[in-house]
């Protein structure tokens, strides 16, 4: 499973934020349905559309005409005859609100349309073309932001006093600054995507690319900007009317009604509630609608429905382990039994991501966990450190040096995590803080672990950098992560993992992002650390070459389960599970050049689709009816070799 991507606030979800292998059978529901599915979205949409429809249909809905006054019923509160009461001339407030919403909302719509139209065109063009265009447009947006909005508007309404609409033109223009800047920055990001390159290779013009590729991609931010600008426009249009501009008494408008209510405040304070409330309700529903729309638009591509994230917690292991489950053998540093990790699915049920993993790791040894993406390798590694996916639960047992890590408190875990079990991830550059020099980042970690003084921590940081064979540690310590190469950065993360003098290092694909020559150096470094200090390594990898060099023991994972476990020498020559066998043979190094490679048909199924019986049966050439009947247990083959296959004896025949 890939790491959880950080939520992006712009409403633009990166294309890579989907876990590998994400599939869904059904067509995604329409945008409207996705908005309505969220309670807040449904409420906001109903309120907003309700207000618009009611105002548009004012002649049909309003109980009275906008000017019908009854001098006998002035400034009344709500009653059966006048649901929202009457104003100072005895006119029905509800009727006037409905009629008064028309000029207000129409004016706001005019300003919004102008702002979004200009904002989209200028933002997209400047983000896409960059260079001089971008500089000119950005300058223009800055200029707009410096304009005194109210002064400009008052000048315009003084020239055209009879209507709000002329003033909406400059308002839309000035409000376009925010959409220009936001849409420019999202376009800058989208422009780097490879499908833009593919479109250029296909000979699309820049205009076609902007229309076909950029616009649909940034629909979310455009919609969000529209709702924000819309809300501001409603406020501005009402504000102008409140000040008496652009309306002709006695014609109703929301702003002028608030002004009337304000002047009658002493006699009837209720008058303010419906008039101010109409404006507040419209603005609020627009704002909420914008939030929900942004999420709903992103969901279409990412398939991730947002949900509340419960605090990550580990379930206690009480009852989940059979009594008398194997105690760790002597000399074993880490003993994992029946480790399970679950995470909540979109429909509220719990998905099992890791299903009953068991292994032992002894000092100075390396256990490699191998498998394709989506099989639960990384989830397993993180679970040992007490880190579960969002909202997930860890159960089972992981005993380290006599203490139980599963269900341990956060403070107990902190005493182990990093200090006694170090972690190295795949991407060293995202693992390091770009704002800190490598030396100060390391010293900070050292101080957190040992509580020593700053000078001592700095000395220890230099020692660590020397220990990971960085030449000239003092120079490296003064550099920021972006100033060093990927290989150097990975050495710095190894130094950080060593800061607490750990007994175990969990290395999750530590060389996948590196060049082969750098990989060779990093692997040699890990082995040398192991030889000199007896560190145990839990290595997550999908590269058989790395397994061959590093591993003493191999655990092959498929669809959340261990399917095979044995010594490294045996796995290459005598795989006892068809998955391992096919994975080994899919490596082009083992096949004659140009021949068809044995490949595994299909892909790893999603956790929700894991079958009851053998999980590999759907892709397995040896599968028979009995494979799918019931769960297959791990079966002992010989010499401690275990396999989750009941037809492993036929493997040799097929080869």
């Amino acid at each position: 499973m890939s790491a959880i991507s950080p939520l992006q606030t712009s409403g633009l979800e990166g294309p890579g934020s989907v876990p590998a292998g994400a599939t869904a059978s059904a067509k995604p529901p329409s945008l409207l349905l996705r908005v309505l599915r969220r309670p807040i979205g449904a409420a906001a949409l109903i309120v907003f559309v309700g207000i618009i429809v009611a105002c548009a249909a004012a002649p049909l809905l309003a109980p009275d005409g906008p000017y019908a006054s009854s001098l006998l019923a002035e400034l009344q509160g709500p009653s059966v005859h006048h649901l929202l009461g009457t104003d100072e001339l005895g006119r029905d407030i509800l009727s006037r609100l409905l009629y008064g919403g028309r000029p207000t909302l129409l004016a706001a719509a005019e300003a919004t349309a102008i702002a979004i139209f200009l904002g989209t065109i200028l933002g997209v063009v400047s983000g896409y073309r960059r260079g001089l265009t971008d500089r000119v447009v950005s300058l223009w947006a800055d200029l707009l932001l410096t304009m005194p909005v109210l002064v400009v508007l008052i000048v315009v309404v003084s020239v055209y006093p009879s209507s709000l609409y002329p003033a909406m033109l400059p308002l839309g223009l000035m409000l376009s600054a925010a959409p220009i800047r936001v849409l420019r920055s999202v376009t800058l990001a989208v422009r780097e995507d490879l499908y833009i390159d593919a479109a250029r290779v296909n000979g699309l013009t820049h205009r076609q690319i902007m229309i076909r590729h950029v616009l649909p991609r940034i629909r979310g931010p455009i919609v969000v900007q529209a709702t924000l600008v819309g809300a501001v426009s409603v406020l501005m249009a009402s504000g102008l009317a409140f000040l008496g501009f652009g309306v002709q008494v006695p014609a109703p408008s929301w702003g002028s009604m608030v002004a009337e209510a304000a002047s009658e405040y002493q006699q009837q304070s209720w008058f303010l509630v419906p008039t101010g409330g109409a404006i507040a309700l419209t603005v609020l529903s627009l704002g909420l609608l914008g939030d929900v729309l942004r999420d709903a638009v992103a969901e279409q591509w990412t398939g991730v429905a947002p949900r509340r994230r419960p605090r990550v917690k580990s379930a206690g292991n009480a009852g989940s382990i059979a009594a008398g489950s194997a105690e760790a053998a002597p000399g074993v540093t880490l003993s994992v039994r029946d480790l399970r990790v679950t995470a909540p699915a979109a429909n509220g049920t719990d998905l099992v991501l890791v299903d009953g993993i068991s292994f032992d790791l002894s000092a100075g040894r390396t256990l490699a966990i191998v498998g394709e993406s989506g099989c639960g390798k990384s989830v397993t590694a993180r679970a040992i450190l007490g880190v579960a996916p969002a909202g997930g639960r860890i159960s089972g047992s992981a005993r380290f040096d006599g203490r139980e890590l599963v269900g341990a408190s956060e403070s107990q875990l902190r005493a182990v995590r990093g200090r006694r079990i170090g972690f190295i991830g795949q991407d060293p550059l995202t693992a390091l803080d770009p704002t800190q020099t490598t030396g100060s980042a390391l010293a900070e970690v050292v101080r957190a672990y040992s509580g020593c003084r700053a000078a001592a921590a700095r000395g220890r940081a230099l020692e660590l950098l020397a220990r990971v064979r960085l030449e000239n540690p003092e120079r490296i310590a003064g550099l920021y992560p972006h100033q060093i190469s990927g290989g150097m950065a990975q050495r710095v993360t190894i130094a950080r993992a060593l800061a607490g003098d750990p007994e175990i290092i969990v290395a999750d694909e530590p060389t996948t992002a590196l060049d082969v020559t750098v990989q060779a150096d990093i692997l040699a470094l890990l082995v040398s650390l192991q030889l000199s200090s007896g560190i145990a390594i839990l290595l997550i990898t999908h590269d058989w070459g790395v397994v061959a060099g590093m591993a003493d023991e191999v655990l092959v994972m498929y669809a959340g389960q261990a399917v095979e476990r044995t010594a490294a020498e045996r796995i290459f020559d005598h795989p006892q599970h068809p998955y391992t066998d096919l994975l080994l043979r899919a490596n082009p190094q083992r096949a004659p050049a140009g021949s068809a490679l044995p490949s595994i048909r299909g892909t790893v199924p999603e956790p929700a689709d894991w079958p009851v019986g053998c999980r590999f049966a759907g892709r397995c050439p040896l599968a028979q009816d009995d494979c799918q009947a019931a769960p297959i247990p791990m079966l002992a083959v010989e010499g401690g070799h275990e396999s989750r296959c009941i037809h492993a004896d036929q493997l040799q025949a097929v080869r």
Binding site: T23, D197, V201, N202, G203, V527, S528, H542
Partner: protein, 289 residues
């Protein structure tokens, strides 16, 4: 693809044939503030019709830059790019539209190479829309191509997010082959894939090459894949060609030191041999300096 459209099987590249793609003394420089960084310094290579030429090297060697320069995605500082006898070094837009019919690309990241906001069908029809083919033909072609790369029929109406990485790479390959190009530039097209999926895609690329007489400019860093797939190999190092030869020569008996290092660094899936090599390297580090 249906059988009637299949083109004759590619014959092995003969010396007499004119190269399909020729890159002569190509220089590409990038300006980073006041610094000028030369990504490619005078690189020359040739791709014959129906040939698979692999371009290998480590990150920063300039291999992707070369592919992008050929595709017109980065400006060329000096040198020439010749496609089928015509100079395309700084081809204008109209020329690029013509070239798109003969030269296509498959990129590394199957997530970023498909627009998440557009359906698969719309991604596949794009190359044909630019060439102004009739709608009916486009629809048929999309269906045929999806079937050829092994995707379900209903894929055209679905969004990229509903597909796995391997399936997305199939979609990207299908998009590149929609207008039957002569040359496909594969820029690290396999490196984001799992081993079993990588094998599927390698097989697909090999089959398509045979059926459609395609030439590949195959940009990669994995020498095992290159040895398996390529006819000839060009090794790039810091923007310079260090070695050229047949795949068997370069991967089996390299002559240049850099190529030897590159091959020696790649781990082999044999625990006895690989463990011995790694421990030997590691023990050099353990000894006190």
């Amino acid at each position: 693809m249906n059988g009637t459209e299949a083109q004759p099987v590619a014959s092995p590249p003969a010396a007499k044939l004119a190269p399909l793609l020729e890159v002569r003394n190509l220089v590409v420089s990038f300006h980073q503030g006041r610094h000028v960084f030369q990504a490619l310094s005078s690189v020359s290579l040739q791709v014959m019709p129906g040939e698979t030429l692999a371009l290998v090297g480590e990150s920063g060697a300039g291999k992707s830059t070369l592919g992008r320069a050929v595709l017109g995605l980065v400006p060329v500082s000096a040198g020439a790019i010749v496609f089928d006898g015509a100079d395309i070094t700084n081809a204008g837009h109209r020329r690029r539209v013509e070239l798109a019919r003969r030269m296509q690309a498959v990129f590394q990241d199957p997530y970023s190479s498909l627009n998440p906001a557009r359906t698969v069908g719309s991604a596949l029809s794009e190359p044909l829309l630019v060439q102004r083919r009739p709608r009916a033909e486009i629809g048929q072609r999309v269906a045929a191509m999806l079937e050829r790369v092994g995707l379900p029929e209903d894929s055209a109406d679905r969004y990229p997010r509903q597909f796995s990485g391997g399936q997305r790479q199939r979609i990207a390959i299908a998009r590149a082959l929609m207008i039957s190009p002569d040359l496909v530039i594969c820029d690290e097209a396999l490196s984001a894939l799992d081993l079993s999926v990588q094998a599927q895609i390698i097989n697909l690329l090999v089959d398509l090459r045979r059926e459609l007489a395609l030439a590949y400019l195959f940009i990669a860093h994995d020498l095992d894949v290159v040895r398996h797939l390529a006819d000839r190999v060009v090794v790039l190092h810091r923007g310079v060609v260090v070695e050229t030869g047949t795949a068997a020569q370069v991967c089996g008996e390299p002559t240049e030191t850099y190529t030897k290092e590159l091959i020696a660094a790649a781990p082999v899936p044999d625990p006895r041999q690989e463990r011995r090599r790694l421990v030997a390297r590691a023990s050099k580090l353990v000894e006190p300096e």
